[in-house]
Symmetry: C2
Subunit: 223 residues, 2 copies
């Protein structure tokens, strides 16, 4: 059996794991999954009914996006995505938690959920107050990301880490729907252009979600 990842294309958690797999040079078959339909194949692997779920060639099942990333670090250490120093590892994990916790709650769950996921789940129309709030929060987060990108080589320090992939995973979902005003945040744009041009990013740029067309510049490396 080949390695499989049960994933939904516009899930930032799935994207983080796909980036980590690709950067480490690990091939994977994507099993396109709509978690809100609670498909049997997913719930059998993960009683929480959430993507991503990794199924290794030997049948090992790994659940939860950060647990998968930690597992990949341990199982395939040749291309490390966490630094060696303990304090630098802690900083990378802090930023993963920042994007998967705070950014998710303040931006992704408002903008992406209102604009796309409700439509996909056939769960009513978008709430314009939420969209305005999400857009304002996104500006605050882009300012913070610009600060980091301005004074560091990558978000957590000298090396590319899971922090960059967590951030890029959320922002690429928002970029797919054309919500990111990159011109207003040049340092963030430079960082995103660098990560977008990596070979590992190609898998994301060819994503196509039925019924949700990508913004014109989404797949363009010179955006």
């Amino acid at each position: 059996m080949t390695r499989q990842l049960h994933a939904f294309a516009l899930s930032p958690y799935c994207r983080k794991v796909r980036l980590a797999l690709a950067e480490k040079g690990l091939g994977v078959d994507l099993v396109e999954t709509k978690p809100w339909e609670r498909p049997h194949a997913l719930v059998r692997l993960n009683p929480a009914g959430e993507t991503p779920v990794l199924v290794e060639e030997d049948g090992t099942v790994v659940v939860d996006s950060m647990a998968i990333c930690e597992y990949l670090e341990e199982a395939y250490p040749d291309v490390p995505l966490l630094p060696r120093r303990l304090d630098a590892r802690a900083e990378a994990r802090r930023l993963v938690a920042w994007f998967d916790g705070r950014f998710r709650a303040e931006v992704t769950e408002t903008l992406l959920d209102e604009k796309v996921m409700r439509r996909m789940r056939r769960d009513g129309g978008p709430d314009s107050d939420f969209i305005r709030l999400g857009a304002a929060n996104l500006r605050a987060h882009l300012a913070y990301l610009s600060q980091l990108a301005d004074r560091r080589n990558w978000l957590a320090g000298e090396a590319l880490t899971l922090a960059d992939f967590a951030a890029a995973a959320h922002l690429s979902c928002l970029d797919y729907i054309g919500e990111v005003d990159w011109e207003a945040y040049p340092a963030a744009k430079t960082w995103y252009a660098r990560i977008k041009s990596r070979p590992a990013f190609r898998t994301l740029l060819s994503d196509h979600v039925p019924g949700i067309p990508a913004a014109a510049h989404y797949a363009d490396v010179d955006f």
Copy 2:
């Protein structure tokens, strides 16, 4: 400087870290913190304004409860709280994510937030619909925990892991306010009695939150 943990007594995330520190035999000064007041000392260490934050003797700052636990595993491996086998580590991390993600959203944030945190934040009275929903969700989770405790020595397998501490951290907060009907879930009760009697648990049993008295049996190891 001694090791410090900025923590709030009824935060399950802080409790998980306190249990991990105590089990590893690492002394710590608790800096009692009310994160919703956004105290300067906290926000300076963690721009997300959340507890727990660990400050090591050498000044290293570690933010986010799971990042702290992973850091403690790496810095102080003598008493491991994750198994050695990669698939067993993944299972322990899955359960940490289950309790800190799903259990938090379905139980802790409804029951504990409505019954206690609103009062502490002076943010209106409890909503009885939420409390009923949280109580029903708690029963479903206790049934799942009983299943795990019935067929395994500890929740993630043979050894005590961070999964047990994550679960005990949430349940001990709910037990503090007397919300857990242990008698209806004997396997869960046996598991909780075992973890409650560990020396590492003593720090939690002496907690006293001003204005929120602990339930009569809270500190009783024979409950």
